[in-house]
Symmetry: C2
Subunit: 362 residues, 2 copies
């Protein structure tokens, strides 16, 4: 992984599906938006300010035990493929990369400490975005992890804070706690039983929102929904987390009920859908990313329903991450044209399935 070769598996510990309810909740993410006092927010900052912020963060993290053992990676010093790999692992945002085709802005950096579920973006929309990424539904634990980082960094330099509003951020929607918690949920049962619309509407009524696999503005593919809180103001972090936990628990119950309904009322159609997806994943010689995600969705449902007991969710998670373009190019050691990429993707899928004992076309 180029410059990241010291930490080639960074950000991947959630793949092991070890967390609670990980057949439905792939991962939990909690991030805190923070800004250093006395510096303009990144969007208005001059190069000098941005570099100064970066310098102070570099200094600060050397004293933060929670971020020990890692490094600060300045994005423009990384190769384009490495940057895209960080994006595909959700360790950096598209914004931090400077958008498609652009170079990252001066001072844009990511801190990757020794513990692979933590990361800090520097000079994104805010000076600091502290993030924890864990397997399954672990909102409280993820929050405690970023809270510890926040405590330590707050000791290293004063943070922009207003006694009435709370933490100050670039975008007003983040003012207050600066906390955004999101869980990546697989809601295939609710989609197939056509209950999803009702459930999503319910989410928005209790202050939550949803997005596709790649966050804001991305489409929902493969029945994977990122559910997150919409407001960060006027409530404590604990209340936010507790509220969200309660709602997500309800969505999980709805999803489990929907899956039971599928098995009870449409077993033939459901099994057919799942086995067809399995057959295509195991035998296709070319897979576009979106098709792969859709097939994985059906197979994932099959594993959860115990129709495909041989497969582990871990392997399906692995396919989701390593089946992305930059990861495939990294494995190939070169850039891949779209048709090549689809062929490499299909080949990777067969390889991972074969390691699970699935017969494939190889």
């Amino acid at each position: 992984m180029d410059e990241l070769s010291l930490a080639p598996d960074y950000g991947l510990s959630w793949l092991d599906a070890s967390g609670p309810a990980s057949d439905i909740v792939l991962s939990t993410r909690v991030r805190l938006a923070r800004n250093l006092q006395g510096y303009p927010f990144p969007a208005r900052a001059r190069v000098h300010d941005r570099l100064e912020v970066l310098r102070r963060v570099e200094e600060g993290i050397t004293r933060a035990a929670s971020l020990a053992g890692g490094g600060v990676y300045v994005l423009k010093d990384l190769g384009p493929r490495t940057r895209r790999i960080l994006l595909e692992r959700r360790l950096v945002s598209r914004d931090l990369l400077g958008g498609i085709g652009n170079a990252p802005a001066p001072g844009a950096a990511v801190v990757l400490p020794g513990r692979d579920h933590l990361s800090v973006m520097v000079n994104e929309e805010d000076h600091l975005r502290l993030q924890a990424l864990l397997s399954g539904l672990r909102l409280r634990e993820a929050w405690r992890l970023v809270d510890a980082v926040d405590e330590e960094l707050g000791g290293a330099f004063p943070l922009a804070y207003h006694p009435e509003f709370g933490f100050l951020t670039s975008c007003p929607t983040n003012v207050g706690t600066g906390l955004r918690a999101s869980v990546l949920m697989h809601l295939a049962g609710l989609v197939l039983t056509k209950e999803i619309g009702r459930v999503l509407k319910g989410l928005t009524q209790v202050g939550l929102t949803f997005r596709g696999l790649y966050g804001e503005g991305s489409e929902v593919v493969g029945n994977f929904f990122q559910v997150s809180n919409q407001t960060t103001l006027g409530t404590s972090e604990e209340d936010l987390i507790e509220h969200m936990e309660r709602v997500v628990d309800q969505v999980i119950q709805h999803e489990r009920q929907a899956r039971a309904v599928l098995l009870r009322e449409a077993p033939a159609v459901t099994e057919d859908k799942i086995w067809r997806a399995y057959g295509l994943l195991a035998y296709a010689r070319s897979l576009a990313f979106e098709e792969m995600i859709n097939l994985l969705s059906a197979v994932r449902l099959g594993v959860s329903l115990k129709l495909l007991p041989r497969l582990r969710v871990y392997s399906l998670n692995k396919i989701m991450i390593y089946g992305q373009q930059a990861h495939l190019e990294q494995a190939a050691g070169r850039e891949l044209l779209p048709p090549e990429c689809d062929a490499h993707r299909a080949s990777l899928v067969r390889k991972i399935l074969a390691s699970e004992g699935v017969p494939t076309s190889d």
Copy 2:
């Protein structure tokens, strides 16, 4: 097979793919249209005439060595499922069955002799339709077989014949030799390379025509084309057969070239298509007939291209016949509603593939 239990495999010897070029030419059929002198053609015949024709045929075949060892089956005495099985095996026509939902007309019968590649329809459009059905491209042999039956029956009763026009038939297009030869061809290569239009146009220019899997008026599915002669008049049987043989040979060459082009110029797309079809056939839990035929087409191409060396064409032919509704109902011992039928079809496909060593979802 109800009343046909004495000959449950009747009409299936072509499945073994033993004939020449049987990877492209599934089967050869030759039929002769004949009428008994002194009786109105079936469309105009009264019940009495039709029964009289049947009686004379029954008498006549007892003296025909070529038809020895079988029986005469009056269609209205057979169960509806048995009649549909005969249709699915191409031993009788839809016309002879009286059309969908109707009972067969009086005197409508089929002679199934001891040799399973021969059959005679009685009181269809003509009094007699003698048919031979063989594996692969064997026009001459098929013609000789029906010619021998024709000779013997012509000795048993005088046939309607005009010294200038030849044999007289209900429909003017059959007058003369009364011979229709047809070969069932799998032209997937020409379809995929988009050369098929040119080839089919060429066929019509040399007096041949094409139809779908189920003859006149049926659509082409799965790239299976029935190629047959259009004219029966003004040329000898030998000339007709020889001409057709030459043209079909050319089509086979075109198809082989097209397959070579696919392997050379689009190997990835071709392999992907073939392996996906294989994966779906092996894992689907529900298959509509038309989808099955389309998937079989791709897999058949794969076997011919040696991409799926483990599979035999025999098994693919077997699936085509036994995957039809009446055959599935026969195996189930009861009528099947459409969704059940699709499930039974998928199950049969998996069973036959499993017998070839293919891993399936069972």
